[in-house]
């Protein structure tokens, strides 16, 4: 039933070249992300993990009292280990090394795609499709756990699908199973929330496979055996998650509260007991120059979404008509896609209910893309004969289109300030001003801008606990009387159409040319 395309020296050689180019492309994207801001950027999650790494080191425990990352200790420990090993500071690890590690995702992705599509060409095509997804690229280019979480998810899926092809070699089966559990355990230590999401998707996919194959009536004994083994693996994963949450790393028990809250909020929303908490998709208006720009930049996402959904509908229709021609791997691909699509739909509902900062859809989309890409690639490969791939369109037009989409994806993933209203870069003048404030405004609060841009940058570069000032952001706190205003702040003010909260007669207490610190003029005896 399973056809094997990837045999033969020529194919292996081509695959090797393609993988090398894929890694090279990802490396170039990483270098671009670094070169774009030259290390002068800041972002909330990256700064949080920097803090977490420092806290683990300072307190000598995986569960520090401050800056604990409650979803898993994997990434903070890895970052700290790299720092200790290389002698690089935590900030350098987060700003440079973390981004340069992004290309590692290529191998797990390619391996899984090859396994699920049973074609190295489809695998390369799927990996390329994945790489041009801005929502997938964005977390890869930050100092967070996601590149490893996604990579480990892909490895787990690869091992799971790969083990389906092992029929009688017990030794290999055991090796794959053991490796699967080791990788899954690693994934859980990085982020138990995403690990649970994967387990949930696997469980759903298993159910869909059972139901689908039962409906078609084509399930062979070996397929039944494999489905059973997947079921046992899911149970095994649940046990590992339970041990991890309740014995190894209890802070992850926060997730129980989160899941409970998710269910409550979703039911409340569905039953109409409360109005929509927030519309997370309003961010389009605020986050980007305008709506056409946003649509253009997210075009790769939309194309993948539309194409994959169309293919899925065709396949689902085939299953309903009991005319599904693929094997278990195909069925699994369809089922996994369905499961992650369901998670995506749920996440949109949860976003409207206001759960988890209303950005769950952003977290789920990369998982969805990881299954949508091979679905599209495999569909293309299955119908390659229908297309004249030697035509100019395939030789020149389509590659050019894909490379333009890639460029758009890179611009979106790096929050290009020409197009995005969410700026992440900062200037040397701003850094100097914060340093001055830290030395001279001890114990006071300093407003640093309309969002966390400067604060995140500062916290990546130095331990927040050692700061003498308290950094204030967004709307100025009433007690904050010192404000950092830079040329970037002024431009941001124009872009956002928000007034800088200083008056013309407020005191300028610091000025380095590009950045000033204002002290609000006291207007009562209790202001100073």
């Amino acid at each position: 039933m399973i056809k094997n395309f990837y045999t033969g020296n020529n194919q292996v050689s081509i695959s090797g070249k393609q993988i090398a180019v894929l890694i090279g492309v990802m490396l170039l994207i990483s270098i671009y992300a670094i070169a774009r801001y030259q290390g002068m950027w800041g972002e909330t999650d990256t700064s949080s993990f920097a803090q977490s790494m420092r806290a683990i080191s300072a307190e000598g425990t995986l569960t520090p009292r401050n800056s604990l990352y409650s979803n898993g200790y994997g990434y903070p420990v890895l970052g700290q280990w790299i720092s200790q090993l290389s002698g690089l500071s935590i900030s350098k690890v987060q700003l440079f090394i973390a981004i340069l590690m992004a290309p590692w995702i290529i191998m797990p992705a390619w391996l899984f795609f090859r396994e699920i599509t049973v074609s190295p060409f489809a695998a390369t095509l799927a990996t390329m499709i994945l790489l041009i997804q801005p929502e997938f690229l964005f977390p890869m280019l930050r100092g967070t756990h996601e590149k490893f979480t996604r990579g480990l998810m892909l490895i787990c899926l690869y091992l799971l699908v790969r083990s389906l092809r092992i029929k009688s070699n017990l030794h290999r089966l055991l090796s794959f199973t053991l490796t699967f559990y080791i990788c899954a355990a690693g994934l859980i230590t990085y982020n138990v929330f995403l690990a649970t999401s994967l387990i949930g998707a696997l469980a759903f996919a298993l159910i869909f496979c059972w139901l689908g194959s039962w409906w078609i009536g084509s399930r062979s004994p070996i397929e039944t055996y494999h489905l059973n083994s997947i079921g046992y693996k899911i149970l095994g994963l649940c046990v590992i998650v339970f041990i991890f949450m309740f014995y190894v790393y209890p802070p992850t028990q926060d997730n129980i509260r989160i899941f409970s809250s998710m269910a409550d909020r979703l039911w409340t929303l569905i039953l109409g007991l409360e109005p929509i908490a927030s519309n997370p998709y309003n961010v389009i208006d605020r986050g980007w120059l305008n709506t056409p720009i946003y649509i253009l930049l997210t075009l790769p996402n939309w194309l993948l979404l539309v194409c994959s959904m169309a293919i899925w509908l065709m396949k689902t229709w085939g299953i309903i008509r009991r005319k599904f021609s693929g094997g278990l791997a195909d069925f699994l691909l369809w089922a996994l896609f369905t499961a992650f699509a369901v998670q995506g739909l749920l996440s949109i509902g949860l976003d409207f209910s206001g759960t988890l900062a209303a950005n769950l859809q952003h977290r789920v989309f990369p998982s969805f893309a990881m299954l949508a890409a091979p679905l599209v690639a495999k569909w293309f490969m299955d119908r390659r004969i229908s297309f004249n791939t030697s035509s100019k369109f395939y030789r020149f037009g389509l590659p050019l289109g894909i490379s333009l989409l890639a460029m758009l994806a890179v611009l979106k993933a790096t929050s290009e300030p020409l197009l995005s209203n969410k700026w992440t870069y900062y200037s040397t003048g701003e850094a100097q001003a914060v340093q001055w404030a830290d030395q001279t405004l001890s114990g006071r609060k300093l407003w640093t801008g309309f969002d966390e841009r400067v604060n995140a940058a500062v916290i990546i570069r130095q331990d927040a606990r050692l700061l003498n000032i308290q950094l204030d952001q967004y709307d100025r706190e009433p007690e904050t009387r010192n404000l950092l205003v830079s040329s970037i702040t002024r431009l941001r003010s124009l872009r956002l159409k928000e007034a800088i909260p200083v008056k013309p007669d407020d005191f300028i207490t610091y000025d380095n040319g590009s950045t000033q610190i204002y002290h609000l003029r006291p207007r009562s005896p209790f202001q100073w």
Binding site: V25, M128, S403, S524, W528
Partner: protein
């Protein structure tokens, strides 16, 4: 622990065993009496057990109704070789209240306790003196700490509602260091359960002077720890047993304070939100300290000086994480022996950090607050940016915490923290009838009072304004027009506003009289007459600091009493002129308004009605033969009059040439400039594009057909 059969038989046949003197005591409460019986679980007599003998027994508190209803079982034990004695207090469940005694012993002793008391002395009562060296644990919904009150009728819930019946709620240490049967200090600690609420975590109370306390032995003098009356707070001058049994419900409702904070002459107390922790310096927040003094030395259970503080260290989350320390101290005192009433108050608000290291709880705990002995002087010696003064004028307020009225916090916490520019506009606009209140918040000086030669009253040095509520709709407004240290303007207002009505609501107000002390003149306006008299007295008769110790209290009482004898009638400003006999000018048919003090003198509007008459000594105020009308009177060494004509308004509409500022900034271009797209990154982006292009070509070129 079970009672053996022999013991029970003995209990049944020996007359002295149960419900008989001296082990029996009855108390009347709504026709129900409580009797106390003793069951010697190990053969020891009650007297011996109470006196520290080894063994165990059980006290049973029951009604004397028929059938008897058992309410409390208290197991008293002292293990062989132990230095301490234990009392385990168990509330008898409803279904066991009618058990006979053997059944009760079998069923109750192993139930979870409500209160466990450990006597560190090893005895409970010796030579008629109860032991108050106790460590106590309280379980379940018993009001054993300030802030735990609950009112099921009103639905008021406290932190106590979050605790189950078997949860340990409060731990208490009580110590009687001189063994006089009156506790010297106690520390109560709430067992934390819910974080993120500003509940009081620690109560500390220390008796600071020899007590005038009558000990109430409660229901059963042999074990004097149970009462059927009282609440959490002790009554003045009494020490009631702490375990309060509600005989209607058969439940323990309170474990009363043993060192009363408010019910005695002298106390040094703390109510802190953050727990007081041993062996470290504690940054105290909330009521820290709460200090009561008997400056008369003759107190009968009431202090006559009380300092109620609210302090928050810098960054405290319960005061909006203010960047500096904040405290208010309500400093109230009585000019007589303490009786729960108060004559005066100054209340200060400021930002002085606590820098002391004061040991409390027999040196087990260090706090940053000033010590009991230093605290009044600490308050009076510091300069404070916001101070109020209240004089109850013989209508003293009754309160266990001093005078609440006119706290500087009426200005608004956000204003005091500097978060907003303007104070609460309704601050200091109402005061109880008969009372005088003053405030200042524009200068930073220590709190001090002075006697004014004009109204013969006490005032706050530096006060900016004040108010006396004369009742019946009359208010006397005080003001400090020249911004020196003294009140120099009095305005008597009559209004028809309802008492304690919202001042912002509209009501009719009319100025009846006004009197000003301006430069070397007293200027009076009222009843259609203006009088100007010479004023050459110093601005104060005397200056005095609020009392901080017995000596200064004696001095204050003497000075204030003597001074207040001659105080002027606040409802008749004209009568005040009798103290200033030298007339400068008198004008009938006239009035003044808009008094303004300037650097070199003062000025006011003088309205001369048609037919007015005037007299001016030496023509100092040249008004004779002036036509009726409105005049500006200006004084800068000599009086000058200027006729005032009505103001006319006009509008001049002209284009503003400065509006030509170019607002057409292309912010998008500016963004590009700001983004500073590096050339290298542009090259890399092109490389990305190129490599993807090559990859895609490679794929489509090599796809096997």
């Amino acid at each position: 622990m079970k009672c053996n059969l022999n013991q029970l038989l003995i209990l049944l046949v020996i007359p002295g065993f149960i419900l008989s003197t001296p082990q029996k005591s009855t108390v009347n409460q709504s026709e129900i009496k409580i009797k106390v019986g003793f069951i010697p679980l190990s053969g020891i007599s009650l007297e011996s057990l109470i006196d520290g003998g080894y063994g165990e027994g059980m006290l049973v508190y029951s009604t004397n109704t028929f059938p008897s209803v058992h309410m409390l079982a208290i197991k008293l034990t002292k293990e062989l070789g132990s230095n301490s004695a234990m009392a385990i207090i168990i509330q008898i469940p409803i279904d066991a209240r009618n058990f006979d005694l053997p059944e009760l012993v079998d069923n109750v002793l192993d139930l979870p306790p409500t209160i466990v008391i450990e006597s560190l002395d090893g005895w409970w009562l010796r030579d008629s003196v109860p032991s108050y060296n106790l460590d106590i644990q309280v379980w379940g919904p018993v009001y054993a700490m300030w802030g735990a009150s609950q009112d099921p009728n009103s639905g008021t819930q406290s932190w106590l509602s979050e605790y189950g019946p078997n949860d340990l709620t409060v731990q208490i240490m009580v110590r009687d260091e001189n063994h006089d049967g009156i506790p010297d200090w106690e520390l109560r600690s709430k067992i934390p359960k819910i974080l993120g609420r500003a509940d009081i975590s620690s109560n500390y109370a220390e008796r600071k002077c020899e007590p005038a306390v009558a000990i109430d032995p409660g229901i059963f003098p042999l074990w004097p720890y149970v009462s059927i009356e009282g609440g959490y707070v002790q009554l003045q001058g009494r020490l009631r047993p702490p375990v309060v049994l509600d005989i209607d419900s058969g439940e323990i409702t309170h474990f009363s304070e043993l060192v009363s904070v408010r019910g005695q002459n002298c106390t040094y107390a703390f109510y802190t939100i953050d727990p007081l922790t041993p062996n470290q310096l504690n940054n105290t927040n909330f009521e820290a300290p709460f200090a009561l003094y008997d400056l008369s030395g003759n107190g009968t259970g009431y202090p006559n000086l009380i300092l109620r503080t609210e302090h928050y260290p810098a960054g405290d989350r319960w005061f909006n994480q203010s960047t500096r320390d904040f405290e208010t101290v309500r400093y109230s005192w009585r000019n007589e022996v303490g009786d729960g009433h108060w004559d005066y108050k100054i209340e200060v608000a400021g930002f002085h950090p606590y820098q002391s290291q004061t040991p409390i709880a027999a040196d087990q705990i260090l706090v940053d607050s000033p010590s009991y002995e230093q605290f009044p002087r600490w308050v009076l010696d510091h300069a404070w940016p916001a101070v109020t003064f209240v004089n109850t004028n013989g209508s003293p307020a009754r309160s266990s915490e001093g005078i609440y009225t006119w706290s500087p916090r009426e200005l608004g916490d956000d204003y005091l923290r500097g978060e907003v520019d303007k104070p609460n506009p309704n601050a200091f606009s109402l005061i109880p009838e008969g009372w005088q209140g003053e405030y200042r918040f524009t200068r930073d000086i220590p709190p001090q009072l002075y006697g004014s030669p004009i109204d013969k009253r006490l005032h706050l040095v530096g006060a900016e304004a004040g108010l006396i509520n004369l009742g019946n709709g009359y208010l006397l407004h005080e003001e400090n027009l020249d911004n020196d240290l003294f009140i120099d303007s009095w305005t008597l207002e009559e209004n028809d506003c309802a008492i304690n009505d919202d001042p912002s609501t509209s009501c009719h107000r009319e100025i009846e009289e006004s009197l000003y002390a301006l430069d070397q003149f007293i200027v009076y306006s009222g009843d259609g007459e203006v009088e100007i008299r010479s004023f050459d007295s110093p601005p104060t008769v005397f200056e005095i600091t609020p009392p901080a110790d017995p000596r200064s209290w004696d001095h204050f009482v003497e000075s204030a009493t003597a001074f207040s004898v001659n105080q002027n009638d606040p409802g008749d400003l004209h009568s005040w002129l009798d103290d200033f006999p030298i007339e400068i000018a008198t004008i009938s048919g006239a009035s003044i308004s808009d008094v303004v003090v300037s650097r070199d003198g003062f000025q006011f509007s003088l309205i001369l009605q048609p037919g007015y008459e005037s007299f001016s000594e030496n023509e100092l105020l040249p008004i004779t033969a002036l036509p009726a009308g409105r005049y500006l009177v200006h004084y800068d060494g000599e009086f000058q009059l200027t006729h005032l004509s009505p103001a006319s308004a006009g509008l001049d509409l002209r284009a503003n040439p400065h509006e030509d500022i170019d607002l057409n900034l292309d912010n998008h271009l500016l963004s590009i400039k700001a983004a500073q797209f590096p050339q290298t990154s542009g090259v890399i982006l092109l490389l990305v594009l190129l490599s993807i292009f090559c990859l895609a070509r490679m794929i489509f070129k090599n796809i096997p057909q």
